[in-house]
Symmetry: C2
Subunit: 240 residues, 2 copies
């Protein structure tokens, strides 16, 4: 899973799976940008961070079995409904709320994303492995031009990362052993969970994931197989 | 779901789902072609037809609950194992059998397929809705250049067409009512099952699906919304 060597006819291309929110697309900047249009008086930075802060607790309820499987669209909407009064947006009607909730389908790629994925696709099979639902990821890919070979989602496994069922399930779908699969993510906890399942890992630096006012520590952790500053840097490192 | 009209910002593109074996790719011609290389003494036409003849009975065992879910790769391999002695191919070793079974990952598109899908993708969200497993469909798309927006498979629903769970499940994933979804197929039984679930249907003429020696009746059936001679003809009819 380092530089791809010439492959025998029957050797499948390496399988690269990508975390999406923060790794492939800029959720913070995209939400801030749309809020500036929809509700210029609202603090878009605080709104984006508050929405995202509801993400892990909402998924934990599904992971822990406290509620049955629901999609991330549903969880995003529940978090949004609780946020609107806090930010003075209770006047939004049903259509506006639905449109706003779908901002997660409209997230914009980082500047290196499309070029990096396009290069990586030449040498590898590339797919998201995201907690976003299939329609969300498909709509996002279509809009942003993300050239996935297929769309893998927590929804396929009805389990949210970091549930091992997601990482192991993705490898099994492609009849690969876990060490034949690499997860690419900007989050050390996602990578650690994948590594615990036997996958290889590549960390991507996204210092501005939470916005310019909240620069993230992107220090390397030695447990990762690769550490890259961008998806084009990852393509360089993989010889793609 | 006729000619796409200009859409409001929030109106999603029409969702077109495609049967794959026979509709998008030429399974008969592809199997015959590979058999001519692997085992020139074997009657490739008879071999391809015999392999395909095992397909519906094998899936029926899963549909009827006589066995738990297994992928189409597994079913194809079981059928193949039974065929090899009949065709004097018992000498194939494990690697050769595995390679031959994966011919279904290497099926070739019909001449109009890539051009038709590429045009349809401009106006619609396009995805396979096939009994092939996710890896099979992904490997096929990568090799053949099928520009799917995402890969939907019976494997997502752990049910084989014509189980209604597949058609209804695909519409539900995209938060569409069934009549907002169209199935495109070269098989009237697949289309009839989709129609029974409320989907719209488009029939594609593939008279050579079973080879030039077994030309298929491709007469229109009035219950289908559209009848097209090819995927480029379908693109014409949809104004894409």
């Amino acid at each position: 899973m380092t530089t791809p060597a010439p492959r025998a006819a029957d050797t499948p291309p390496p399988l690269l799976l990508f975390d999406v929110f923060g790794t492939v697309v800029d959720w913070h900047g995209s939400v801030v940008r749309e809020m500036a249009e929809i509700a210029p008086s609202v603090d878009g930075d605080a709104f984006a961070l508050a929405w995202r802060a509801g993400y892990q607790p909402a998924m934990a309820a599904v992971r822990d079995g406290r509620r049955p499987w629901v999609t991330l669209d549903t969880l995003h909407r529940e978090i949004l409904e609780a946020l609107l009064p806090r930010f003075g947006l209770s006047q939004l009607d049903a259509a506006q709320r639905r449109h706003l909730n779908q901002v997660w389908h409209r997230l914009r790629p980082w500047p290196d994303t499309v070029a990096g994925l396009t290069r990586l696709k030449q040498a590898c099979t590339i797919a998201p492995l995201s907690n976003g639902n299939i329609a969300l990821l498909t709509n996002m890919a279509k809009r942003a031009g993300l050239p996935w070979d297929c769309v893998l989602s927590a929804e396929v496994f009805r389990a949210y990362k970091p549930d091992p069922a997601v990482y192991r399930g993705a490898a099994a779908l492609f009849d690969r052993s876990p060490e034949q699969v690499m997860l690419v993510a900007a989050h050390h906890d996602d990578l650690a969970a994948a590594r615990a399942c036997g996958l290889r890992t590549a960390y991507i630096e996204r210092p501005l994931e939470f916005g310019a006012a909240h620069v993230k520590d992107v220090s390397p952790q030695p447990a990762n197989d690769l550490h890259a500053t961008s998806l084009t840097d990852l393509a360089d490192q993989l010889g793609a």
